[in-house]
Subunit: 480 residues, 2 copies
Amino acid sequence: MITGKVAELLESTKYLQEVEVKGWVRSFRSNRFIALNDGSTINNMQCVVDYEKMNEALLKRITVGAAIKVTGTLTESLGSGQKVEIQVTNVEILGDADPEEVKYTILSPKRHTLEKLREQAHLRVRTNTFGAVMRLRSKLAFAVHSYFQQNNFHYVNTPIITGSDAEGAGEMFRVTSFDLDNIPRTEDGKVDFKEDFFGKETNLTVSGQLEGETYALGLGQIYTFGPTFRAENSNTSRHLAEFWMVEPEMAFCDLAGNMDIAEDFIKYVLKYILEHCKDDLAFLEERLANEDKAKPEAERSPMGLTDKLRFVIDNNFKRVSYTEAIDILKDSKPNKKKKFNYIIEEWGADLQSEHERYLVEKHFKCPVILFDYPANIKAFYMRLNEDGKTVRAMDILFPGIGEIVGGSQREERLDVLTKKMQALGIDEKELWWYLDTRRFGTCVHSGFGLGFERLVQFATGMGNIRDVIPFPRTPLNAEF
Amino acid sequence: MITGKVAELLESTKYLQEVEVKGWVRSFRSNRFIALNDGSTINNMQCVVDYEKMNEALLKRITVGAAIKVTGTLTESLGSGQKVEIQVTNVEILGDADPEEVKYTILSPKRHTLEKLREQAHLRVRTNTFGAVMRLRSKLAFAVHSYFQQNNFHYVNTPIITGSDAEGAGEMFRVTSFDLDNIPRTEDGKVDFKEDFFGKETNLTVSGQLEGETYALGLGQIYTFGPTFRAENSNTSRHLAEFWMVEPEMAFCDLAGNMDIAEDFIKYVLKYILEHCKDDLAFLEERLANEDKAKPEAERSPMGLTDKLRFVIDNNFKRVSYTEAIDILKDSKPNKKKKFNYIIEEWGADLQSEHERYLVEKHFKCPVILFDYPANIKAFYMRLNEDGKTVRAMDILFPGIGEIVGGSQREERLDVLTKKMQALGIDEKELWWYLDTRRFGTCVHSGFGLGFERLVQFATGMGNIRDVIPFPRTPLNAEF
């Protein structure tokens, strides 16, 4: 008797052997064909029942969503689509799924909208689409770790709860152990944070970069991969209040080296899933194509899913300065014809997704790395160029989604950095430890951040970021 | 010219070639021998300076903590300890470290206590001990991912911010976007959580298990690896308010299978670091031995670090029921002579670390898996045995630290589970989604949790859990 997962058995050629497999019923056609799935692959095992030999009461319990154990003989399949099937000798019901109850859930065998599936996020992973997305997400996460470990980066867990709120990357969530009905106050009526768990105000991190830098300046090359948070009331298909971020940081690395690593990294992880997620990608490719067909022609994607991945893997990323990009955009048709929602009028403008996509999809027709942005639209820690007005920032732009990576060479010069912080009103005392790294053996260093869910969106073709994380957190939604 | 990391160059045999290497000065002896470290390994590159040919002003800037670039010729080293060294032709100062300032930091070349190092957690990774610990932590994390990915488990990111507080694993931190000075109230004066970011009360997760179960019951085998939180005022060397947890969950797997996987997993990850962290382990072994020498003999560890790792890898874990363990403990010398702080008097007692260690270190002399604990000292979701008083729980006990893994077969029967929840006053409406998994295709399933920092402690021999995570969070401490 061979006990196996569906994924293994589908690859097996041990015909005529007795096998046992457990999983959930995806469909049961003609009282004869059970499509059994156990999550190990998107493919189902076809289990062929001889209903004349089966107990009728048992047959009735083989319903969509039920957990069953099947034993039988592995045989070559005559139908197309798969090589093997199981001629069933016995079915055991492990857990029923009453059709009268199932019909109120997304397990019921009909089309459900993605919105509906989101409401039942605890069950949606049992559908083809979410099974595929979540298996791919897992493989992509492993590819991230594999890339950095192979290249001698050290994984660092920067703190989630942080006492510093100096980065200014966005609105932060507060963390407290206070009973909100009964908050301790000082004599003058203010909240007495000395009484809180950490003895001070604390927040959820928006980025591990600053702490990551302190580690890069000792371990050389590090990366973080953990959750980050934004308390921004953005109810869009691109924003989550809780998302996972990858943030490598390299000592002795300038902006050019930073771009090299980012490009190499992205190509590696996408190649990895092309190799390791063939079946799930094939399904997602078809899903996206079908979704596209329902759209007006102008909104359809010019590329299929695999083509988009190959577009990134096979092209050199074009490196273009912000200043060049502004010139291109100013001269572009959509700008002159006022088709952009935001018309580019002068140097210094912050680029929108429509501009980024124009550069990638229409002008250069390859992934683009923009660099040397105006200092005043970028963060305080980015290295000032000799021109005194641009900083060594870089953003990587992708088709369909625009910015996928944002990074920079960091300002390593203590005097320049403190001057900048003073100008922006950032408290030096708050960041004493960050400044220490510029005091003791400072050096050129760089890093970047990649929003992991954006990458999963790109790799799966899912349009809404809520559909690439198991339990999305968004304004007014923290169910499960 | 070969540009390389210290780790690569130390393995190189390209003698007489010109090389370039960047790093931080660990020491500079006799105006002649620079020990250069770049974080890629615990070992330093010896760079031999001919001080008579060097600019004197430059020589003075080669100080402990400075970042420098060295060029020179790679030669076979005549001294013991390493195979190669660099005959320096040029030194460039990248970032100074003024000895007058360094002397107030832990970078100064003298012994600092671990407590002192903790206060400068942003610099401590530049010391041998913390470099070794953090490199090993990184490798161990990758081993965790590698094990599960090789065994076809899917990585799942369960939510960090959660609206459910039903698990009861401990005190939770509240998450809010309210201005604590100005909390919206309902007409009857209560906090109006409808106005908060998520429209309800939210907390930081204490475990991803319940959400993980919903994914295992679709994807088959999953694991989580992410931060978890406890707002407990425990100021001990074993507790953190923020720590990382590994939680696998397997459908169609009973308690015996759960034990098999846990044992196999732990052996795999420890073997992995024995293979991949030789130099760091050798250093940590010696560090631990030196620390031990300073202790009274009775408190010294009977095993060195590698011996402890081998003790776990080479022994079968002994599986013992709670009931057997209680009998053994009742009859034990320390119990009869009242040497235990908590005397074991009867069945039902909760075991303390001293009892767990007695079983592992004195009685069985191997790692131990205790199982079938009394239901009333374990969580609501554990599967009730036929005896009606024990549950299918298991804890894995290690030398030195006691419990390292806690797991169970989950209660998959809807009626038994709801009865248990009612008895404990757990709101079924809160956990509607968890109960759904028992309604639709429920099945035998199991999982366990491993506190990652406990494992890093075990693998590094560090006594205080604050020294195995980059920026520890504990009561009154959220610096950095």
